[in-house]
């Protein structure tokens, strides 16, 4: 039988539906999550199955309903808080950073916050500076939070189910440009552990470590590199915290050259952290300094030619990799 294919959005919805059927304490809270099913239609049909007590529309009050998510999580529920655009996490920062992330530690381990925040990242949708950012590094910086960045429909379903069952606050970033991406997704109840990287393509000459949207870019670049005689390995950490340092370092030791691709800002970002982990762990095996490629250090511009210049593309990754391998 051919494998069943789902879009990224359908995989997310299926994970939520399965977990909501399995556990009556799982609920969804956010703006236009019920009848509208979010502007991206990711949640369509859930309110019909689970009702408005469990798929809860809110006012435009990100700080308020995120705080409600934290409190409800501490007292017996497993809320999935929906923040429509990743840019709006800024409004939730106190609740996430000073409350959710620290409650378990500050209480000496008494209270847990089993909450998921689902939100988005990614540019090139022509949505301009306040609807295009990739701010996952901010949360990755904070002890007490876990951060998940799925790159395929398969990973999205398995990782989201794990995130919902986790007893800690987990932030789940979805690339809005990937919602229509199709891929095989089993119908069964599978989970993927947090902190386990996945080698999306094996290769021997160079490692492309890529997160979220950048995994597809890295795979595209790897095909181009193959034609140019360069064998690229693509490694997807899948979670920025916990981080599977072992898999990243082993791949770097094998290939000796690494480019880290992440749609957040390169400076002080996820790519910087991964580059540092690899530089330290694979120091004696590296033939070149680890290179970071991320969003250009500018607010995302609206104008299409400008916006396109701010993110790594298959072509720019291909060129950088070829150069690093001395084949340019």
């Amino acid at each position: 039988m051919p494998e069943r294919e789902l879009t990224f959005a359908q995989a997310i919805r299926e994970a939520l539906a399965e977990e909501m059927r399995r556990d009556a304490t799982v609920c969804i809270i956010g703006e236009d999550v019920a009848e509208a099913g979010t502007p991206f239609k990711v949640l369509s049909g859930l309110v019909e199955e689970f009702g408005s007590e469990r798929v809860v529309d809110t006012p435009i009050s990100e700080a308020g309903f995120t705080g409600i998510g934290v409190g409800a999580a501490m007292t017996g529920m497993r809320p999935v808080v929906d923040i429509m655009f990743g840019d709006f996490i800024t409004l939730t920062m106190d609740q996430m950073v000073n409350q959710a992330a620290k409650v378990h530690y500050m209480s000496g381990g008494h209270w847990n916050v089993p909450m998921v925040m689902r939100t988005t990242l990614g540019a090139t949708r022509r949505s301009a500076a306040q609807h295009s950012q990739s701010l996952h590094a901010w949360f990755s910086h904070v002890p007490g939070l876990k951060v998940v960045l799925p790159s395929t429909p398969y990973d999205a379903k398995g990782l989201l189910k794990t995130a919902i069952r986790d007893n800690n606050p987990v932030v789940f970033f979805e690339d809005k440009m990937m919602y229509k991406l199709k891929g095989p997704v089993p119908e069964d109840d599978y989970t993927i552990p947090l902190g386990v990287a996945d080698v999306k393509r094996e290769g021997g000459d160079i490692t492309l470590v890529a997160t979220s949207s950048m995994v597809q870019t890295a795979l595209g670049a790897a095909s181009m590199l193959e034609k140019a005689g360069v064998s690229a390995e693509v490694v997807d950490p899948r979670t920025t915290w916990p981080l599977d340092e072992k898999t990243l370092i082993e791949s770097a030791q094998k290939t000796s050259r690494v480019i880290v691709l992440d749609e957040g800002y390169g400076r002080y970002g996820v790519a910087a952290e991964i580059a540092a982990v690899i530089a330290a762990g694979a120091f004696y095996d590296l033939d070149a300094p680890v290179k970071r490629m991320g969003a250009m250090h500018v607010p995302i511009p609206f104008s299409p030619p400008l916006e396109d210049a701010t993110v790594p593309t298959e072509q720019t990754v291909f060129e950088a990799a070829r150069q690093m391998c001395g084949k340019a």
Binding site: T58, P59, A128, A129, H131, H297, S303, P304, L306
Partner: protein, 338 residues
């Protein structure tokens, strides 16, 4: 005198002779029609796939922006929202540079960097549209703070949708504005829907009570009646200018189209019947046109002629924008820092 779509609202300040009632209300008509026909072209650009991304149309709400901006001076400040084209035009922006911005062109108000949701224009006191709901409440209140400290005699109008009532920062700044008697007018455009959800499902209590709790003067107005809006706004603006402090205006209105240009099937959150009732009975432009005719300030032929002229201006402005070049890619890292 020539009164074009790109003229700001402060007619009186710039014309030598006193403005007659007729001139004043014909100008308001022109401004409203300009917004409507601007938005008509925006929708066309979207349908013809000439505009990158999406845009949120202001059609149906014209009397609010126009009624208020006609009572402002050119150097008064406004802050606007994701649904901002109407505010920009009413404050005096020109359609050609606005269209250019919507298409990401260098000739646009923000050199293409901002797009539909971020148009800003210092020449008309427009501090900027904002894609964060409630994102400009601090900015408007800050502009009022500066106006008071710098004794510029300016006021700031903060436009926001009723959805922004959900944002806590609004309550922080309203408290401060009242404590410090700042010249700011908070204008809540209640078009009944926060995106795809009726405001009654997201708003407890009453809207005005939110302002009166701070002792802020608060009033509501029929947002489809440009003359009523203008009358109330004039009073609130005058109060603010005299140092009597902030006020809050709830303008009841309706957006004729979807939340954004791509929101086509919307019967799951509001009925076609409701939409057509507003469009036929409560269209601010039709209502004002009928009044102008009843007053013998215009006849339907002259109003049609005005609309035809404006439509031609809009078509020319679109042509300008379509033909205008994109900014050079070299500009991408300019303007990150001043």
């Amino acid at each position: 005198m020539s009164v074009t779509a790109s003229n700001p609202g402060d007619l009186a300040a710039r014309s030598a002779a006193p403005v007659t009632e007729q001139q004043k209300w014909l100008h308001a008509y022109r401004q409203m029609v300009s917004i409507r026909l601007f938005e008509e072209q925006v929708n066309e650009l979207y349908i013809r796939a000439l505009m990158p991304g999406l845009a949120h149309l202001y059609s149906g709400e014209e009397a609010v922006a126009v009624g208020i901006c006609e009572a402002l001076r050119r150097d008064d400040y406004i802050t606007s929202t994701h649904r901002g084209h109407g505010h920009c035009l009413a404050k005096g922006a020109s359609p050609d540079r606005m269209f250019a911005e919507l298409l990401g062109k260098e000739a646009g108000y923000c050199r293409g960097k901002g797009g539909s949701m971020h148009i800003a224009d210092p020449a008309t006191g427009n501090l900027g549209a904002n894609a964060i709901v409630g994102g400009s409440v601090g900015i408007a209140t800050g502009a009022a703070f500066a106006a008071k400290r710098l004794r510029t005699d300016r006021v700031a109008v903060c436009f926001f949708g009723e959805g922004a009532l959900g944002q806590g920062s609004l309550y922080e700044v309203m408290n401060l504005a009242q404590l410090w008697k700042l010249p700011v007018i908070y204008v809540c455009e209640n078009n009944l829907y926060n995106e795809y959800t009726h405001f009654s499902e997201t708003t407890a209590g009453t809207i005005l009570a939110r302002a009166t709790a701070f002792g802020i003067e608060a009033t509501s107005v029929d947002g489809q009646d440009v003359r009523k809006v203008n009358e109330v706004a004039s009073r609130l603006i005058q109060r603010a200018r005299k140092g009597e402090g902030p006020s809050f205006l709830q303008a009841d209105t309706y957006r004729f189209s979807g939340h954004h240009v791509g929101d086509i099937s919307r019967e799951y959150y509001r009925s076609k019947q409701e939409e057509s009732l507003w469009k036929t009975e409560r269209d601010p432009i039709k209502l004002h046109a009928a009044w102008l005719i009843a007053q013998r300030f215009a006849d339907s032929a002259s109003l049609d002629k005005t609309a035809a002229e404006i439509r031609n201006e809009m078509i020319a402005a679109v042509k300008f924008a379509v033909e205008a070049p994109y900014p050079s890619v070299k500009e991408v890292d300019q303007h990150v820092y001043a």
